[in-house]
Subunit: 257 residues, 2 copies
DNA sequence: ACTTGACTCTTACCTTACGTCATACCATAG
DNA sequence: CTATGGTATGACGTAAGGTAAGAGTCAAGT
């Protein structure tokens, strides 16, 4: 006889556990060709082949019972079994596809979780101050404008909003480090361009009614009129306010001409 | 409190079994809000909501343990869990796709299964007779011709071969039912045309070296010379042999002119 | 011959997420 | 008061092995 394998050898050859072979023996799916005097299992070539068949059908997710039936029966059942099993697998696969979509949606929903209240939007700001800020903004730009901006921000994916805030902080810091330079110099104007883009994002991302450059220029006045815009870490900075104003006006003018 | 459901009510509402609720209670996944004096479980609105959450994650194929962990923890773990689970599902789905392809291949392989021996090709015929038949055929047409035909048949998809055999039987029966008609009549010639096509298929399906009409005409002689060709269900039928001969010759001549 | 380590045997309990009894208690309508 | 039906608890079964326990076996080194 060709090949004479112990349980372990056969197991390693076929990539299964010894326990599995024990089980297959017990349920009659794969019996050793002989037993030694000490009841050790001995397998030969044909058992290896059968085991490979078994593993093939196991790959196809057949229950062991069916595998036994298939292997011990002529092929007629097999074709039907395969067709039936194909349908099952198709259903399962489609199910997975649905699940994946569901997960994607869920993840997006979580990531894009829109904030549920204005506190979160004005976070870090005391509540009364946030209210005052809102009122003032409405008085300045009109209620519709403020509401549009707020809604845009509220509908913005949370992660994006965090990114925007981080950008804003970074831009402000860079600009402050350039406060001794010419406001019209290229390096300052570069940061101002980022600032404009950032503000524009805050304004309402994909809205065709873009932030007009004139509006941005008008915003520059606020940097002088309202120290809140140039308050960094608690202390007002009038020189920086003046610097920002000049830089922003120059930027707007260069775009307008 | 809103809603006060018994096990059965809650079960029906959520579409699970009572046993499931018992289980969830025991493993601490979903405990009733209260127990009556008789230890009856009583659920309220928040349990219903939690149960719906549970079912959602169950849809996503999470084990109950994980679901408990997810529901009892803040969302941070959730995103990671979802991402991880998504990968698992993707792998599983791809696995199914591979399996489906494998099954398709297997089915095709089985359908196209080439027969492994000549016994199967000459099945139904006693072994010695099949041998004699082969020898005679080789003597008559040459070994190369017989081997070519045999190989063509052996490589033919098994189901096609069955179809061919069925066709052959059908054609023969129809021709026998027409044996009292004029061999050159249209209805007979129609069946003879089918017969020719069938023989040609036997000859070698997609081979450009087609069965020549002269060869088919030569085959007609066999219907007289060899009663095997017109033996139906054990009894020879010389009249039918003559009929076939005339019909085949006429068919071939009409093609040749 | 003896020990050691690797291998093997059988038996049996554990796993998941319930389904399916079995037994006994509880509630309520007629 | 009883019939009916909901409920509770406990136990067993499922698929395909994993893991462990306790004991026997084999081959090699000493």
């Amino acid at each position: 006889m060709k090949g004479n394998y112990s349980v372990k050898q056969l197991a390693k050859l076929a990539g299964v556990s010894v326990r599995t072979l024990h089980l297959y023996d017990k349920i009659g799916l794969l019996k050793p060709s002989v037993r030694t005097d000490a009841r050790y299992r001995r397998y030969e070539e044909k058992e290896l082949l059968r085991l490979q068949q078994i593993l093939f059908y196991k790959l196809l997710d057949f229950p062991l019972k069916d595998i036994g039936a298939i292997l011990d029966n002529p092929e007629f059942e097999l074709l039907k079994a395969l067709e039936g099993h194909k349908q099952l697998l198709t259903i399962k696969r489609d199910h997975f596809t649905v699940l994946l979509n569901t997960i994607d949606k869920t993840v997006n929903h979580l990531k894009n979780k829109t904030m549920s209240n204005y506190q979160e939007l004005y976070e870090g700001m005391p509540k009364e101050q946030a209210e005052a800020y809102r009122s003032e903004a409405i008085a300045k730009w009109g209620e519709d404008v403020v509401l549009r901006s707020e809604n845009a921000l509220l509908e913005m994916p949370k992660l994006n909003l965090e990114q925007l805030k981080a950008d804003q902080k970074d831009i402000t810091q860079k600009l402050m480090s350039l406060a001794d330079k010419d406001p019209e110099s290229n390096e300052v104007q570069l940061q101002i361009a980022r600032h404009y883009a950032n503000i524009r994002s805050f304004w309402g991302v994909s809205d065709p009614t873009d932030l007009k450059i004139e509006t941005y220029k008008g915003l520059a006045d606020l940097y002088i009129a309202d120290e809140r815009y140039t308050t960094v870490e608690g202390k007002a900075n009038p020189e920086f306010a003046s610097f920002m104003h000049k830089a922003m006006v120059h930027f707007a003018d260069s775009k307008l001409k």
